[in-house]
Symmetry: C2
Subunit: 465 residues, 2 copies
């Protein structure tokens, strides 16, 4: 039977120590794909630990997709070919061909998904299944403004089971991407409102509000996120924030600031908070802080999330949760629209979620991203040493790399471009144009292949050392 | 060999006479599905007509989907089970169960497609094919604002081959439904512009412009469509029209009025015409009048069309053709958006068009709709006699039924509702609310099953006689 010594455990909780070792054994192939693990009871006896230690370790491993369980049969190791088999080739592969001047072999700016990670076959199987079994009539009619109820129910069940959010499906509105939902929100909340956004922040978000001709107030962030005094002074009615993982700063808004923000909203009857939870599925370390939506008692939070990030950017399916008073306003003002996502995709996604494929996919992706991030950080710090400092690596699909350099941000970006690596710096994300030199690179690593990492490291070494 | 006598032909062109008889033989099963037709040459010799007569008749039958051809083998009759086998059962079926108070067995208001007419299996086969052969990377990245180029090229080729419109794919913008494109157009043309719409017209269109907070001017129609004097007086910058088949009046704008409209647009540099060609694929009689887009020399026409109508309402895929000067403006102002249609659906539709499936589908649908419309009109006029007058039946998927009655429009609608038939009257489509009693019913028949027609006729007889 598998044996782990708890001798050198130090202060680490026993279950975490155990979880970490089993995970490593799976990733490095010592526990093979589909190999059965010892039963919890016999394993606990064997190691001389309490049952709860094994149970906790297994539960964590299962939640993260390293193990899967078969009822009345036990726990088995997941297959990790895509990750574990690539590791050696990655370390041996060396530099790829010198990239074309205008093309990048690694892009840390665009959000993408590595193609081989998307479950194509499964997705089309589910779609065929939907066509074979769903009432054809339902598939071919116009979709109601808020989306088909089957998908809204599936999302609500998913939120309940995996995010601890309880929400009536009636409050869920489905739309073709978050950008589309922002446009809809301006129509819902009013074009005469003042909208506050985070600065620095997603520039596209500012563009969308500008294209909607609303008054826009970028609010400078402090180390805890958007400043309440500046927000109040701005006279904004609506504030658009990313509390679980701000882009680009990576700030996770602490709970105190969250309550201050909710307090701000409750002070006037026409104030709303748009909570953009774009990559909450990819919190990689520690427990998540509750969403604003889940602690909002005065019904002022509009929660937005997307499947473009968790499935692939090709999918233009996002949803928002409206506070109850806005649901009626939505039906009255905007209920005449057709939902902008095809029924085919809505029904397929509903089935994909309800059959458990979505959660399994997320778990696999999370493991993969954690692996990739750890590798990238380890290689960066090993090679570049004291020249760089990794920041905000806890959650989401990007972290920051502060660089000790005399180079301007612009020059640094251009140097990396010459090497075929696309990066951006925090200074580029201020709404009034470039703000000095941040010397802080945003590494949005989701679309960068593991195989490209050695070459990325060489490129950084070339530019910085 | 098939024999047709040309004795009683009268003034009808020979090819049309021949086309009409062969069509009838196919529909009524005298020529069986997949039966080979005589070769053009021997058929011409046999009937004693010139080769060109047979060629023209075959070409028309093929274009409309009654025949298909196999290279080096000849012409074969298409399969028409869904239509021809239903005819007898339809005439025997009688009334369905008494419908529930709130449900309709026939809905002449909502645009729908009968489920059995959509080629599900084909669509998913094409999708599987796309996944198997398309570069996976392309499928999973974010789609550029205007859509993937493969689909834009496919649309441009289709327009060239079947609609005689030559247009650079660069000018084609793909979006998740026409409603979405209208929203985008306001952002492109400016929210400070004045927008004119047709009155009566699609009420949802007015709602969308209202939700965009633009100044809206409904312009009363005369018998040729939108009045140029009223339009000029309105000081509108942008006019939104449906020249090929106005909803709800069914007016086909004559060529003279089209040129007057283009002349109006060319008088000031910031005037634009939005040409909404929503059901142009379903012109059922006669040659189409050229689109405004194709006769526009001063680059003021924005052409909009949708696949929601030609495939099924579930699809939220529409496109617009921008005049060249607006293409650059689109890229500058709105190029930051992602296209709102998933890449999967874009690539699948591109293949569906390029492999000829789309045109074949349209042809089949057109035959089906023509058959349904003819049956409906024949039964209505036979049963209701001089009490009704059919109007505007030439094109598109709705026609008008003028009723000689003392009843108010509202009462008529409620009487039909009691019978389980959903109808609407022209008076409901004025932008300032109900406009008197039009006594004119709009019969949007696309989603009404053939089987329902006898009961529809009974319902009308009950309400009107």
């Amino acid at each position: 039977m598998l044996t782990y010594s708890f001798e050198n455990i130090g202060h680490e909780p026993m279950y975490e120590y155990m979880y970490r070792h089993i995970r490593q054994d799976i990733l490095e192939g010592r526990i093979k794909a589909d190999e059965k693990l010892p039963s919890k009871r016999s394993f606990a006896r064997h190691l001389g630990v309490s049952l709860i230690v094994v149970e906790s370790a297994y539960a964590q491993l299962k939640a993260e997709g390293y193990l899967y369980s078969v009822p009345r049969s036990g726990y088995f190791a997941s297959s990790f070919e895509p990750v574990s088999q690539r590791v050696p080739s990655l370390l041996l592969s060396g530099l790829p061909e010198k990239p074309d001047e205008t093309s990048y072999f690694a892009d840390f700016v665009t959000s993408a998904v590595e193609p081989e990670l998307f479950p194509y076959a499964l997705w089309t199987r589910v779609m065929r299944n939907v066509i074979a079994t769903e009432n054809e009539k339902k598939l071919l009619v116009e979709s109601p403004a808020a989306g088909v109820s089957k998908l809204r129910v599936a999302i609500s069940e998913h939120l309940r089971d995996f995010r601890g959010i309880t929400v009536d499906p009636e409050r869920i509105i489905v739309g073709a991407g978050t950008q589309f939902l922002y446009n809809l929100l301006v129509q819902l909340l009013g074009r005469d409102r003042i909208y506050a956004i985070e600065d620095p922040g997603y520039l596209r978000l500012g563009r969308i509000y500008e294209m909607n001709d609303v008054t826009l107030r970028p609010i400078t962030l402090d180390e805890n996120g958007i400043g309440i005094k500046a927000l109040t002074d701005s006279e904004a009615h609506v504030v658009h924030v990313m509390p679980s993982h701000q882009f680009p700063t990576g700030i996770v808004m602490p709970i105190t600031r969250r309550y201050e923000l909710l307090e701000w909203a409750s002070q006037q009857s026409d104030r709303y908070i748009i909570e953009d939870d774009h990559d909450c599925e990819f919190r990689l370390i520690g427990k998540p802080i509750p969403t604003l939506q889940s602690v909002d008692t005065s019904e002022r939070v509009i929660y937005i999330n997307t499947f473009s990030r968790s499935l692939a950017p090709t999918f233009r399916i996002s949803y928002m949760i409206l506070p109850s008073p806005l649901v009626q306003r939505f039906q009255q003002k905007l209920g005449f629209y057709s939902c902008s996502v095809s029924n085919f995709e809505q029904f397929t996604l509903a089935r994909f979620i309800q059959d458990g494929y979505f959660e399994r996919h997320i778990n696999r992706m999370r493991s993969h991203y954690r692996f990739k991030r750890d590798l990238l950080i380890r290689e960066l710090t090993t090679t570049l040493g004291s020249c760089v400092k990794v920041q905000r690596k806890e959650s989401g699909l990007h972290f920051l790399l502060h660089v000790d350099t005399e180079m301007s941000d612009e020059y640094l970006v251009s140097q990396m471009k010459e090497q075929g690596v696309r990066i951006s710096c925090i200074s580029e994300y201020f709404h009034d144009g470039a703000r000095g030199n941040s010397h802080t690179i945003i590494l949005n690593y989701s679309g960068v292949a593991l195989e490209a990492i050695p070459a990325v490291i060489s490129a950084f070494a070339e530019a910085l050392l």
